[in-house]
C-alpha cells in the first residue's frame, strides 16, 4: 500500500496495491489507522486502481477505516473501484455511507 498525503487539502490517499483478503487486510489496517491518527485528515480516499481481487475482508477493512476516519473528523471515499469489486460492496450496502467518486472529484475539481 502506498500512502500519499496532501497537506494543503488535508487529504490522505491510500493506494492499495495488493489483493484484499483476510491475510493482507490485517497489515493494511494497522498502517492506515496509524496514518489517519497522525495526520487527522479532512478526507481519506481509498484508491482501488491496483486491486485485482477482493473478498468480504475488504468490506470489513473499509467499514473499519470509515470508523477511524470519522473519529478524527474526516470523511471516507473510494476511487477506481472495478465492477467486480463494486458488486461485493453493493451486496453489503456500505455504498450508502461510503461513496465511490470519480478521479476528478477526488482531485477537488
Amino acid at each position: 500500500m502506498n500512502v500519499k498525503h496532501f497537506v494543503d487539502d488535508k487529504l490522505l490517499v491510500f493506494e492499495i496495491t495488493e489483493d484484499l483478503d483476510h491475510h493482507v487486510t490485517e497489515k493494511i489496517r494497522r498502517r492506515a489507522d496509524y496514518e489517519i491518527q497522525r495526520f487527522m485528515p479532512k478526507r481519506v480516499v481509498l484508491d482501488f486502481n491496483r486491486v485485482v481481487f477482493m473478498d468480504s475482508a475488504g468490506i470489513g477493512l473499509v467499514i473499519g477505516r470509515y470508523k477511524t476516519t470519522c473519529c478524527y473528523g474526516g470523511k471516507l471515499e473510494m476511487i477506481n473501484v472495478s465492477s467486480k469489486i463494486r458488486k461485493i460492496f453493493e451486496m453489503s450496502g456500505i455504498l450508502k455511507i461510503i461513496p465511490i467518486i470519480s478521479n476528478r472529484e477526488a482531485m477537488g475539481e
Binding site: D19, D21, H22, H23, T25, E26, R29, F53, M54, D55, S56, A57, I59, G60, L61, I63, G64, K84, I88, M91, S92
Partner: protein
C-alpha cells in the same frame, strides 16, 4: 447433464492465513481446464477465499489444523468441497445470516456465506459440533452460447 468426472484434485494445508491466496489460485488454475470465462474464474476465487478464510479463522481457535479442498470438474460444472476438522458450527442458519459474525472484534463483515451463495450456483453446509465443517459449492461453467457474430470481423 453429463455427470462424468473429467478431473479431480485434492489439496491439504495448515490453517495459516497466508494460505488463503495460495488456495484460491490453485482452485482457479484447476478450474481453467473447463474454459470458464474471466468473470466465472473471479467468482470461484472469491467464493473459495471466503470458505477458506472461514475455516482458518473459526475452525481451530486453539492452534492450527488442516484445511482440505477437494475439487471435481464435470463437463460444464465445477464442484468444490472445503472441509476442516475443527469446532464445527452450532447454528448454521444463524451463521448464514448476512452481517452475522461470531468474531466481531476481528473487523469481519459477516458477508462470507452471502457472497458464496450469490457467486456460486449451489451451496451446501454440513457441520457437526466438535467434528468439523464441510462446505460444498457448485457452479455451472461456460453455459453461455458463444455467438458466431462476435467472432466475425470485417477485412478492409
Amino acid at each position: 447433464m453429463n455427470k462424468m468426472i473429467k478431473n479431480e484434485m485434492k489439496l491439504e494445508f495448515l490453517s495459516k492465513s497466508n494460505n488463503e491466496g495460495f488456495a484460491r489460485v490453485v482452485v482457479a488454475c484447476f478450474a481453467s481446464q473447463i474454459d470458464p470465462t474471466i468473470e466465472e474464474i473471479a467468482d470461484i476465487k472469491t467464493a473459495v477465499s471466503e470458505a477458506v478464510t472461514n475455516a482458518i479463522i473459526h475452525a481451530y481457535p486453539n492452534g492450527e489444523g488442516l484445511v482440505k479442498i477437494v475439487s471435481r470438474l464435470y463437463d460444464k460444472e465445477i464442484e468444490i468441497e472445503i472441509s476442516d476438522t475443527g469446532i464445527g458450527i452450532s447454528d448454521i442458519e444463524e451463521a448464514k445470516v448476512p452481517m452475522y459474525t461470531s468474531k466481531s472484534g476481528l473487523e469481519r463483515s459477516g458477508m462470507g456465506f452471502t457472497i458464496m451463495e450469490s457467486f456460486m450456483d449451489n451451496l451446501k453446509v454440513e457441520s457437526i459440533v466438535g467434528l468439523g465443517t464441510k462446505i460444498t459449492m457448485k457452479k455451472k461453467i461456460n453455459t453461455k452460447e458463444v455467438s458466431l457474430e462476435s467472432s466475425t470481423y470485417e477485412i478492409k
